[in-house]
């Protein structure tokens, strides 16, 4: 066994052990909204593909001095899923190791619901529910999985540049004050 093989196996074993710990830990003690994962738990969570929670365009100067637009985004990783077919949720962790909860929703605000209905028509068959708040110019779409919600969110951001489209995640529960 050369160093590379040894290193690879050690990494693999470490990864598997981390996954086991993570799975075991989550199974026995599901992380709560607002808690922080340890570095090792985080490493295990990030071993899976992330989901883009949001993105924004910023203007930056290139090396040549020209102004160019750059897209930067926030990534979250799925820890577990739960709930029912009508009330599903996904526990996630963000880049800062904070645990959050998504109800697999896409929130569309600053857009009259009459206009929103047209724009989201293609996504309604995949959504498990939709709530229109006409007088608040807000719409909430809900999907079975966070992945579906993220996909719809990204597409609707492009389709509805005049609106605020987001993937709401709760990272802190309210408490009595």
């Amino acid at each position: 066994m050369n160093f590379s093989e040894h290193h690879y196996l050690r990494s693999l074993l470490g990864f598997l052990f981390g996954c086991m710990l993570l799975t075991s830990s989550f199974a026995q003690n599901t992380p709560k909204v607002g808690s922080l994962l340890t570095e090792s738990e985080m490493a295990a969570a990030k071993s899976k593909p992330g989901i883009q929670e949001s993105k924004k365009i910023i203007s930056v100067l290139s090396a040549g001095g020209a102004t160019v637009n750059q897209e930067i985004g926030k990534t979250i990783w799925v820890l577990s899923t739960g709930g029912s077919t009508t009330d599903p949720y996904t526990m996630v962790v963000n880049e800062q190791r904070a645990v959050g909860k998504s109800s697999n929703e896409v929130l569309i605000t600053d857009s009259p619901t009459a206009q929103t209905k047209v724009k989201i028509a293609a996504y309604l068959p995949k959504a498990i529910s939709v709530n229109y708040f006409d007088h608040m110019n807000a719409t909430v779409l809900r999907f079975a999985t966070l992945e579906e919600a993220a996909k719809a969110c990204a597409a609707l951001k492009t389709a509805m540049p005049e609106a605020q489209v987001s993937l709401p995640v709760t990272y802190s529960l309210p408490r009595a004050r």
């Binding site: 909204v33 607002g34 808690s35 922080l36 949001s54 924004k56 910023i58 203007s59 930056v60 100067l61 290139s62 090396a63 750059q70 930067i72 985004g73 926030k74 949720y89 880049e95 800062q96 904070a98 909860k101 109800s103 929703e105 929130l107 605000t109 600053d110 529910s129 709530n131 708040f133 007088h135 608040m136 110019n137 807000a138 909430v140 809900r142 605020q164 489209v165 987001s166 709401p168 709760t170 990272y171 802190s172 529960l173 309210p174 408490r175 009595a176 004050r177």
Partner: protein, 639 residues
């Protein structure tokens, strides 16, 4: 038998009050009274527990003579409004909390069943199903307890009351929109009281879309806008097990938590309410920060004696806010089995005081900004009752301009007027207010300030302690109404403050930005991210290529100060803040939000300066002496 006797007692007491109507009992002459009915234009003196409701009338309260815990003058100046017969008539108040016992003997007559919901089981009864969730019932009583000769009286005892529980379980977006005006049971709310809040670890991302509010609320209340009154938080000293670093070993110098870390309070339509005690000082727990709007009354945290009269406010002792509790001695905060170590005799089921004044344990006292917020909700209800045409902007402007300055000298108490060495967070001997680029010491609290528009503002008290009589008088006199429209401008990146390097342990002027036009400032907000840097450089401006890496930015060590074109300095965050001990770092996409109302009414035009005032970071956070930061800003204009 006991109930019959008590009923007779109440009727007798009420009769006594009616006989003395117009005298010193607090009643007014009926000639100018617009209210009708048994209690027309009478103060809360008709209620048996009124004497303990110092927030209504401190001078006549039981606590007035207990000078270590009460100054006998600090109240909300409510009685004069009640004597006019203004008691919240025509105003719908919705309490979003852990639930409300809507059949409580002192609440039920004000409850509108079409304004109730329970998220726990999705039915219309918000009564808590547990024996201990009394928080919302306390809140509701402070606002809306009925004037009926029983127990206490709310600040607006004739409002229409709605309620929802259980808001603490963490609602999803659809549920939040439902609760905050999006459902048949919430759409008719004129005021929402939200005595809840969060303390995220680490700082969340500030985006407008997630927190409900702002533009969606301007259409409510017949296009005059919903008013949301919210608690600032009880984390001045610490948050649970999360402690904050002390200044020269002393606590209580600066606030541990910053209310703004609950980003919902950055919404201008949500009023962040601080708390004062019966001595007229900041309650020991009340979180301080530059987005606090005004102060209500919350009492002290450690109440002892028969009713809260024992001890000293200096030791965090004193009376709290008397209100409604879950009914019965097996439920709520007043109950059997308590000890004098935990609470006052009034709440200990079966104690002689309890048996005399609270035999059914239907009433209790509660401290916190959870209590101070509903005192302000009550005041706002009185204002809207006096003038229902006020827009949400009118309401907050009137509150800001009629509130009273309290505790004027706090800025120099406990050494707070001294500069702090940023390297080790100890007091120096200098009291200079100078904010100098490169300095290793500076002030971390300016106390009360008067801004260029003439408004007094303090991070502890906002614009001051509410004065119901002054606020209602101004409400009644208002005939020109401010626009209810709300536009939140996009954040603007500041080129001079992109990937800007700063040094820990000193003041660093990050740069300036210039605003033009004739706008006056309502609020000012910043959004911060860690900068990026290339390997081997500490300050690589304007280079965001893919080879860049995130700069360590130990946000717990970083204070943020802003100086307006008029010269007013506001502290948006203090160094060694709540994120210090958790070694929290900002990311390049964090969008950490901060805000301030210290510049309210000032001209926006001119050059704005932004400073980092940084302590030394934990070694585990970064070993470098510098970090870089990117700053975006927006000025929210007055209409």
């Amino acid at each position: 038998m006991k109930k019959t006797f008590l009923t007779l007692l109440v009727i007798f007491a009420l009769g006594t009050q009616l006989v003395s109507c117009g005298g010193d009992s607090g009643s007014s002459s009926t000639s100018s009274c617009a209210e009708t009915g048994l209690y027309a234009c009478q103060t809360g003196a008709t209620e048996p527990l009124y004497t303990y409701q110092w927030a209504l009338n401190a001078a006549q309260s039981f606590f007035a003579s207990y000078t270590p815990v009460s100054d006998g003058t600090t109240d909300l100046n409510v009685d004069a409004v009640h004597k006019q017969g203004i008691k919240g008539q025509g105003v719908n108040v919705l309490v979003l909390d852990d639930g409300v016992e809507i059949n409580h003997e002192d609440l039920k007559d004000n409850v509108n069943p079409s304004m109730t919901w329970n998220f726990q089981n999705n039915n219309t009864d918000p009564t808590p199903t547990t024996t201990y969730d009394a928080h919302g019932t306390n809140v509701a009583g402070i606002i809306a307890a009925v004037q009926n000769g029983i127990g206490v009286m709310g600040i607006a005892p004739r409002v229409t009351l709605g309620a929802a529980g259980d808001m603490r379980k963490g609602l999803n977006a659809a549920q939040q929109y439902t609760a905050f005006g999006g459902a048949p049971w919430s759409i008719n709310a004129h005021i929402i009281n939200y005595s809840l809040g969060g303390n995220p670890i680490p700082p969340a991302s500030y985006t407008d879309a997630i927190a409900v509010g702002g533009q969606p609320w301007t259409n409510l209340r017949s296009n005059k806008g919903l008013i949301v009154v919210q608690s600032a938080g009880n984390e001045y000293i610490k948050i649970g097990q999360r402690d904050c670093r002390k200044v020269s070993g002393a606590t209580q110098i600066v606030s541990c938590e910053n209310p703004v870390n609950d980003y919902s309070l950055l919404n201008p339509m949500r009023l962040s309410i601080a708390a004062a005690n019966a001595k007229g000082y900041r309650a020991s727990y009340s979180s301080a920060g530059s987005i606090n709007w005004i102060t209500g009354l919350g009492g002290e945290s450690e109440s002892i004696g028969n009713y809260g009269e024992a001890g000293s406010a200096a030791d965090k002792q004193g009376p709290q806010i008397y209100s409604t509790d879950l009914m019965g001695c097996e439920r709520g905060n007043s109950e059997n089995g308590l000890s004098a170590v935990d609470t006052v005799q009034f709440m200990i089921g079966g104690s002689p005081i309890n048996m005399e004044k609270n035999p059914n344990c239907n009433f209790d006292q509660m401290a916190g900004t959870s209590s101070s917020a509903p005192t302000i909700t009550g005041v706002v209800a009185l204002m809207l009752s006096a003038n229902p045409n006020l827009t949400w902007r009118d309401v907050r402007h009137i509150l800001a301009t009629t509130s009273k300055q309290i505790d004027p000298g706090y800025g120099s108490r406990d050494g707070r007027n001294k500069q702090i060495s940023l390297a080790d967070y100890t007091f120096t001997d200098s009291t200079s207010t100078a904010l100098t680029d490169g300095a290793s010491a500076t002030r971390i609290d300016y106390g009360w300030q008067i801004n260029a528009a003439g408004y007094k503002y303090s991070n502890w008290y906002g614009f001051g302690l509410a004065d119901a009589t002054a606020a209602v008088a101004k409400a009644k006199a208002t005939t020109n109404y401010m626009s209810a429209a709300l536009t939140l401008p996009e954040f603007i990146p500041v080129p001079a403050m992109k990937n800007k390097s700063f040094t820990y342990g000193q003041v660093t002027k990050l740069g300036e930005f210039t605003v033009t036009g004739a706008d006056k400032v309502d609020g000012m907000q910043l959004r911060l991210n860690a900068g990026t840097k290339d390997a081997g450089t500490s300050d690589d401006q304007d280079s965001d290529d893919s080879s860049s890496t995130a700069s360590d930015l130990c946000i717990g060590s970083v204070g943020i100060y802003v100086q307006s074109p008029s010269g007013t300095v506001s502290i948006l965050a203090v160094p060694y803040n709540i994120y210090y001990n958790t070694d929290t770092q900002l990311t390049t996409t964090n969008d950490y939000g901060l805000g301030t109302y210290a510049f309210y009414g000032e001209a926006a035009a001119g050059s704005w300066q932004v400073f980092t005032v940084s302590g030394k970071p934990q070694e585990t956070c970064t070993t470098a002496g510098t970090s870089s930061i990117s700053v975006e800003y927006r000025i929210i204009p007055m209409p």
